[in-house]
Point group: C2
Amino acid sequence: MGRWEPNTKERLVQAALALFLEQGYEATTVAEIAERAGGLTKTTFFRHFPDKREVLFAAGQEVHGQIVTDAIAAAASTATPLAMVGQALDALAATFGEERRHIGAGLRKVIADNPELRERSALKRAALAEAMTVALHRRDVPEPGASLAADLGTRAFFSAFDRWADLANRDKLTELARHDFAQLRTALATLE
Amino acid sequence: MGRWEPNTKERLVQAALALFLEQGYEATTVAEIAERAGGLTKTTFFRHFPDKREVLFAAGQEVHGQIVTDAIAAAASTATPLAMVGQALDALAATFGEERRHIGAGLRKVIADNPELRERSALKRAALAEAMTVALHRRDVPEPGASLAADLGTRAFFSAFDRWADLANRDKLTELARHDFAQLRTALATLE
């Protein structure tokens, strides 16, 4: 393992995103991504990712699932299900600092342009909702309430993320997610 | 147009479902479906459906969207958003008579066995939710409430449909959908 190894995964992500934006997702090969990441080989790429598509998704999905799981497990015993989800969103949003906004903006553009990536993105959203649902079950929130609460949180997070992942936006993701989640909770009260 | 033409579409659906169940979705060709449907040709098949996959989905999607749209448009001016969605579910469920249960059961099994069909099925669910959302907008239900109400209705309908599409079940789809929708509405009240 060479001295640069710890950064390899992140460099591959950055290189892939840059190439996808420059020349399109379809036209980009794994060999090109590895080369752009600093003269790496395809073999190195495949040590980190199973395929070209996963370079955009594999990194976040597990980590994000763990963050919401931990936050819900740590919530006060008096917290309501939506309060637990709110804490999960705070914890998740806090990991998206300003320095990641340009990656978010690139990802959003690449995904919007490609049906295969849109589908994979929908699976990632579903995986986040599922992680929250399982964590809520562990806090004794029954069905169908746990799935509903998790869906509301997921919906708020991604509507906020879509606005945040825009280089013209100046808000913190935490603020946007709180706003969108509060708006959903207010809307719920008007449905009956 | 021959004398059997009015039933052709339904016969193609039945033939496709029978073959998918007997020998699998992947192994079945359009020519086999057309032949099983009473010695029809591939050309006839393609007059009714764009491809093998759509034979399971194309029929329902437009009709179901129209049914929920009409029901929401016809709801009383005093109806709450969830009451409007409840009327849409009643109207939709009423079109699934006992004679359609075996088709539902077959569809459910074929779809569960195939990732491509599961994906298409998810799109169909999303299209139903979208139809309800648009109909609620026309009734002046604002976002994000309209999307939430539509999602709740869609979730209730398909959880009910999954139980109904079982040859051992004896309940009417209308009853199952009302039960699941009421359960979701009750759960909502426990989330805050």
